[in-house]
């Protein structure tokens, strides 16, 4: 293995290691201490559980990553099969009120 040479920093090794350890400790405290406690907060717990129940993954970047997407697509396809014309023709009836 080639020798371990590092880029872009001229700070002494000790200072760099200290910075790394401090930042890593902060991360560990947040992830292992603060966030697990937060997850137990009633309102947040309710939000997390509801997302899971509905198949919602708020971390999804693309529609294919949503666990509940298949069910949603099926629902929209069913609406299309049963009311297809409504999605392609302009309605003559007056505006819908909230019902």
């Amino acid at each position: 293995m080639p020798p371990m040479r590092c880029d872009r920093t001229t700070r002494p090794l000790r200072s760099r290691i200290t910075s790394f350890l401090v930042a890593s400790t902060v991360l560990l405290v947040i992830w292992l201490g603060v966030l697990p406690r937060l997850a137990q907060t009633p309102s947040l717990k309710q939000y997390l559980d509801r997302n899971e129940e509905l198949g919602i993954d708020p971390g999804a970047k693309f529609y294919t990553e949503l666990p509940g997407m298949r069910r949603i697509i099926e629902r929209v396809q069913t609406a299309h099969r049963l009311h297809g014309a409504e999605f392609w023709t302009v309605s003559n009836r007056p505006a819908v009120e909230n019902d």
Partner: protein
């Protein structure tokens, strides 16, 4: 993205990274380089290798899925069609039994999933969610360890990229040695992102992968031996070819004309207006930063930033900045918009369309839609899905615009066609081909749909996420905090995002209201 291919295509050089050019190459390596220079472009550039590797993953998975289809597939299809008919009959009844309908739909979904089988499905490792013990992330929903799956991804990716690296004339052993630690950093990023509070706040792995990389590069310094595996563009381009398979044009018409009006009219208007605003009013010095922010804000967040960033060769710092802006505002919008909607008593379908058209990230759209109601969730995610598909068109148009108009020839003359071809990011061909092939497959009835779904869900989507994560770790490892600071100067990126998003909010709300309450109210009713 910063490309090795420009120089490579001009000079036949592929090792154009400055850190490598400083090193003296041994004679055997120099010989190898000479041989590589003689190869045709489609065997020596990163763009083409991304196409071959992405294509190989897609074709291999598709082939395995097709050859493993159940022997009684036609009987299963008949059963699925019968269940669809029964479900529709129950739905047509004015006073149907909701429980009966749910059971039927469940049975129907299972029948559809059973039409095909992807043998790779359980073999690809995916880091799970966890709440208080990070080790929970290494166990799947059935309690099985995912470590073998992670090893499979590590070995598979390492093998495939080694072929590409070797094909480009670079050292395979050095790449393999470096790839393992970079992959471990990607695992750490996924574990950080998998904490439930973080995941459900839409703080995606992209952010943590960049931060983990930054933490190392800005404290300890990035070890030189990691360099061969720090291949941001290679991972992104290959990941984008895989993403192409998820851009299914058949889903474009999911909401008929209302969906097209809301997604395909507002989105391009906002994208173009924001880009022009950045160039003419804010006078942003970097058109690529302007474009990436405009695209991630108007289309679909991180995935749009990755695709357009690659199409317009944005710098890695620009991509990081655009992603950070997008994620920051997404969290705010995901919380505030549902509250505002409930406060004013907005119609659920209109609200869903508004959320889907404005919040950047798909996951955040679903979370916000879920807070409003079931109909809002359905409409919001479907609108966002249509926008997701737009990124294929947007990325292609941006790449053409960039090589033809933005990157002018040195004497300022209009670029000739041959020059456009030379500069065009070739991985886009893989991206588009994957999209067209898989879109065609989904039009082949339930079996086609089920096959595509099995390929994407079981394999390629997971590998794509790993590749993007490796890319973001690479970005972090290559970036110095000081290099990011000039981008914040004058607050122009922030101003651009805020102005663009405000326009997006206003236009999307108006269009959603107009289309779903005035022009197609019956369609809105059908979705309730």
């Amino acid at each position: 993205m910063i490309s090795r291919d420009d120089a490579a295509e001009e000079t036949g050089e592929t090792l154009n990274d400055s850190s490598f050019s400083e090193e003296s190459l041994e004679s055997s390596v120099a010989e190898e380089m000479k041989m590589v220079r003689k190869r045709p472009p489609f065997l020596k550039t990163e763009d083409w290798w991304a196409v071959w590797l992405g294509g190989a993953i897609l074709l291999m998975t598709l082939g395995l899925t097709w050859s493993s289809r159940p022997a009684d597939q036609s009987e299963r299809l008949t059963r699925f069609l019968a269940l669809t008919e029964r479900t529709d009959t129950v739905r047509r009844q004015s006073n149907f039994n909701l429980e009966e309908l749910k059971e039927l739909e469940k049975e129907r979904d299972a029948a559809k999933a059973g039409l095909t089988y992807n043998p790779l499905k359980s073999r690809i490792g995916k880091i799970g969610k966890w709440e208080s013990n990070p080790l929970d992330a290494f166990v799947d929903s059935k309690g099985r360890s995912i470590v073998p799956g992670l090893l499979a991804v590590l070995i598979g990716c390492c093998f495939l990229f080694s072929i590409g690296i070797g094909g480009m004339g670079e050292s395979v052993p050095r790449f393999v040695t470096a790839f393992v630690p970079v992959f471990l950093l990607a695992i750490i990023s996924f574990v950080l992102a998998g904490q439930r509070v973080i995941n459900d706040s839409n703080l995606e792995y992209a952010l943590w992968a960049i931060l983990i990389g930054l933490l190392i590069s800005n404290t300890l310094g990035t070890p030189r031996f990691l360099k061969p595996a720090i291949r941001t563009e290679f991972y992104i381009k290959t990941g984008l070819v895989l993403l192409g398979a998820e851009i299914l044009f058949s889903q474009l018409l999911a909401l008929g004309l209302p969906g097209i009006c809301i997604s395909w009219v507002v989105t391009p208007v906002v994208l173009i207006s924001t880009f022009i605003f950045g160039q003419k009013v804010l006078k942003m010095s970097s058109p690529s930063l302007n474009m990436v922010i405009s695209a991630d804000m108007s289309v679909c967040g991180v995935s749009a930033a990755i695709a357009t960033g690659a199409a317009c060769r944005a710098k890695r710092e620009e991509l990081s900045l655009a992603i950070a802006l997008s994620l920051g505002f997404t969290v705010i919008m995901m919380i505030l918009m549902p509250e505002f909607i409930k406060l004013v008593g907005m119609d659920e379908v209109v609200a869903g369309a508004w959320l889907g058209g404005t919040i950047d990230s798909t996951g955040a759209v679903a979370a916000a839609g879920g807070m409003v109601g079931d109909a809002a969730l359905t409409v919001a995610t479907t609108i966002k899905m249509i926008q997701n598909i737009l990124i294929g068109v947007v990325a292609f148009c941006v790449s053409i615009y960039w090589v033809g108009w933005v990157e002018k020839s040195p004497n300022g003359e209009r670029v000739r066609l041959v020059e456009i071809w030379r500069r065009f990011p070739k991985f886009m061909f893989g991206f588009l081909a994957a999209s067209l092939v898989f879109s065609f497959l989904t039009t082949q009835g339930p079996i086609g749909e089920s096959t595509v779904s099995a390929v994407l869900d079981g394999t390629t989507k997971l590998i794509r996420n790993w590749l993007f994560c490796l890319a973001f770790v690479s970005i972090g490892l290559e970036t110095n905090f000081r290099e990011l600071l000039p981008y914040f100067k004058g607050g122009k990126p922030l101003t651009l995002y805020v102005v663009g998003q405000t326009l997006n909010l206003v236009l999307s709300l108006f269009m959603s209201w107009l289309i779903l309450t005035k022009v197609f109210p019956n369609a809105a009713d059908a979705l309730r």
